[in-house]
């Protein structure tokens, strides 16, 4: 014990030195306000990471845009939204009044409309390196050849170094290997009707397809509450005809927050 402790402390110092190279942005988790989702992803959306949001069907572009805006609103900070010019022409421009209706102040948003996916990714690399940006939203439709594992790894590393959260919006695309921390699929869901059968609050069906270091799985139907800026479980009577899978209550059971403690204090002296 006595002769092992100096080498152990040296080792520990080296480990802590290595860990200091990467800022401890991990662990800064922003709750979504939805209890079941938060437990499934270990407390919330991790800042300074790459998150992928998929809309498998192009008709769900509005929903995935909404989900990205809602997450960005919860994450806070300035938002840089990178889009493609062709997409803007065919599939509509980002409407500031609509962002405002979600609760996101359009003054926080800077939009860049770029000619092609390569320039979007190149600009994203610059944006993600700027520590003053809160959230970088990179919107790419279909499957651009430029977006491969290397590109997403590069984004993820830059995000880790600067603490910028990257939301990669993939519309009309299938998941491919990537360096994302979490991967979500977003679909529109029927809303709880208001008076006179009017369409209600934004209602989304979100599915956790994959996450790094944790079991994936879970599908929730959530409603966005603009006033308190939280996701809340959608009303049951509204979603019964649409729902195909039960809500992810089963995921929340094995995780009780007990596993969050060791990950936050990894170097506890026991001897």
């Amino acid at each position: 014990m006595a002769d092992s402790s100096p080498s152990l402390s040296v080792l520990r110092r080296r480990i802590s030195h290595i860990e200091q190279q990467r800022p401890i942005s991990e662990g800064v988790q922003i709750s979504t306000g939805h209890e079941a989702i938060d437990t499934a992803i270990g407390g919330g959306i991790t800042r300074g990471c790459l998150h992928e949001l998929f809309a498998l069907d192009p008709d769900d572009a509005g929903s995935v845009t909404g989900f990205a805006a809602m997450l960005a609103l919860r994450l806070g900070g300035g938002i840089l939204w990178l889009r493609q010019e062709t997409v803007q022409k065919v599939n509509g421009r980002l409407h500031a009044a609509g962002l405002l209706e979600i609760g996101l102040d359009p003054a926080r948003v800077i939009v860049a409309v770029l000619p092609d996916p390569v320039s979007v990714l190149r600009a994203a690399a610059d944006v993600v390196r700027c520590p003053d940006v809160g959230v970088a939203i990179v919107e790419l439709w279909q499957r651009p050849a430029a977006l491969d594992l290397t590109a997403s790894r590069r984004l993820a590393l830059a995000a880790e170094a600067s603490g910028v959260t990257v939301l990669l919006l993939r519309v009309d695309a299938e998941p491919t290997p990537s360096a994302a921390q979490t991967r979500w699929a977003v679909r529109a869901a029927a809303s709880a009707p208001l008076e006179a059968n009017a369409p209600g609050y934004p209602t989304l069906k979100i599915e956790l397809l994959r996450q790094r270091g944790r079991p994936a799985g879970g599908c929730w139907q959530v409603e966005w509450d603009r006033e308190s800026a939280v996701f809340r479980p959608a009303d049951r009577n509204a979603d019964t005809p649409i729902r195909t899978a039960p809500p992810g209550a089963m995921v929340s059971l094995p995780r009780g927050g007990s596993d969050a403690a060791p990950s936050l204090v990894p170097l506890r002296r026991t001897g």
Binding site: D59, A96, A97, I102, P106, A190, S191, P199, G200
Partner: protein, 498 residues
């Protein structure tokens, strides 16, 4: 007057030549070379007469637009002597060299430098160069055009010029000549009041300006920058990297002056003067006032990288000028208590960099606009122009989102089944897919801005917020009211909700 000589093989080099222009329905001579003048031709003569007199006259069409372009290129060349350069169409350039001439070894040195450059540049063209110095621009213009013999003093030379040198209206000129006044001196000796009464005030005013009795300035082609710094090279430099280094050095000089004045610039222009007279301008913009030379060099290198056609140094640049067109107040940078500069700046620098590289219109912010027409309600302003975020009105609490997140521009046409005349939609086809409407709200009627239209009417839109069976929410509208505005109003989808 300078003319490009077009390469025509049958034209003899020693033949007199003229340029012709169609004036009042007839081809007339517009400009002549000295040989043609010596043969007694004059501008304004009909071409047929000229041909009858001199059969071997070589004739080309005049191209005033090309002349002007040529003149502007020469003006760009002259920009290296003084920023005060004005065009004097159609064949002159006026420089204000007050306080500049000594830099080139006095007036004679300046002229020698200019002439050697012009000769180098005008190889392959025919043209003559005349110059004159005077106290006022009008005086110099008159001397350069009309002086034939040297005189003892500027004033004597001016007085000897013909009345035409005043460049008055043709009627006034003829009237003066008929009155027996042939030279400027004749006019200047007469009392001015009767001249003004008879020939108009313009005559006396011009006379005073030509003779330097009234003050007169040129209006430079380009607004003078607030600050500029330049560097000349004994040997031209040819590498773009070197040019960027020099821009950085000039930026450091600029930073010193700017810091002293507590100012910054939001626009910087670097002008690269090629030794053969070509000029290349590069400019960068920033959202916040700037004076840090390192940032400046970074922006300029972004600019150079983003150029569609790379900089062609030719035989090298022999001068580089960095100009700050206007200054803005900029206080010394404040540091945060916990260290590091105020955070707004890194974001602004990022926006500058992206705007410089990708184009200022590609990076934008939203600004509200006071109109109820949805697609006109939001302005997208270049982010470099709008550093202060706009203030938006909060939506009403408790309401679901009433405006879509994606807005189609233009709205996309759909086929709709709806009750006639003003019922809500039941089912619609958009992008070849049928959508059954399960919930709807509306109509929200948005009228055209009839007060802005000359005819006082416009087509009303009835907007519906609808949700289909799969949960997608759309913003669709009927374009026009049945029968009163349109016989068959079309339906459009204008946006998508979350």
């Amino acid at each position: 007057m300078l003319r490009h000589r077009s390469s025509r093989s049958d034209a003899r080099d020693d033949a007199p030549f003229a340029l012709v222009e169609k004036i009042r329905g007839a081809m007339r001579l517009a400009a002549l070379d000295p040989r043609a003048v010596a043969l007694g031709l004059a501008p304004g003569l009909p071409l047929a007469d000229a041909r009858a007199r001199i059969p071997e006259l070589v004739v080309y069409d005049a191209d005033p637009a090309a002349d002007l372009r040529w003149l502007e290129r020469i003006a760009d060349l002259c920009d290296r002597y003084t920023p005060m350069v004005a065009l004097d169409p159609s064949d002159g350039i006026t420089l204000d060299i007050t306080g500049c001439a000594h830099l080139f070894g006095g007036e004679a040195g300046l002229v020698a430098d200019l002439e050697s450059r012009m000769h180098r540049w005008m190889q392959g063209t025919t043209g003559h160069l005349r110059h004159a110095f005077a106290d006022t621009p009008e005086g110099a213009q008159a001397l350069a055009r009309f002086q034939t013999v040297p005189a003892a003093s500027e004033d004597a030379a001016l007085r000897r010029l013909p009345i035409a040198a005043l460049r008055l209206e043709p009627e006034t000129e003829t009237a003066l000549r008929r009155a027996g006044l042939r030279t400027i001196g004749d006019l200047a000796t007469r009392p001015s009041a009767p001249i003004a009464a008879r020939f108009g005030e313009e005559a006396t005013d011009t006379l005073a300006r030509v003779l330097g009795q009234a003050d007169s300035r040129i209006v430079p082609r380009r607004a003078l920058p607030a600050l500029f710094f330049e560097r000349r090279f004994a040997e031209p430099i040819a590498r773009t990297e070197d040019a960027l280094t020099v821009i950085g050095d000039l930026g450091e000089e600029a930073a010193l002056v700017l810091e002293e004045r507590r100012k910054g610039g939001r626009r910087f222009t670097a002008r690269l003067y090629r030794s053969d007279g070509q000029i290349r301008d590069l400019s960068v913009e920033s959202g916040l006032p700037l004076r840090d030379p390192a940032l400046l060099v970074k922006l300029f290198s972004e600019r150079v990288e983003a150029l569609a056609d790379p900089i062609d140094p030719g035989f090298g640049f022999d001068m580089i000028r960095l100009a700050v067109p206007s200054l803005e107040p900029m206080m010394p940078t404040q540091l945060q208590l916990e260290g590091g500069a105020v955070t707004q700046e890194a974001m602004a620098a990022l926006v500058d960099r992206l705007s410089t590289r990708l184009g200022r219109d590609r990076i934008h912010r939203f600004a509200p606009r006071d109109t109820h027409i949805p697609e006109q309600g939001v302005l997208t302003l270049p982010a470099v122009d709008a550093p202060t975020p706009a203030v938006w009105e909060k939506p009403q609490t408790g309401e679901p989102p009433l405006r879509p997140l994606h807005l189609f521009d233009p709205p996309q046409k759909i086929e709709v089944m709806a009750e006639v005349p003003d019922g809500p939609p039941h089912r619609f086809r958009w992008r070849r897919t049928l959508h059954d409407v399960t919930r709807f709200e509306g109509p929200e009627r948005i009228a055209a801005e009839w007060w802005k239209r000359p005819e006082g009417t416009g087509i009303t839109r009835d907007y519906y917020r609808v949700e289909d069976a799969r949960g997608h929410r759309f913003w669709i509208f009927r374009h026009g009211l049945y029968n009163s505005e349109k016989r068959e109003p079309g339906w459009y989808v204008h946006g998508l909700f979350a």
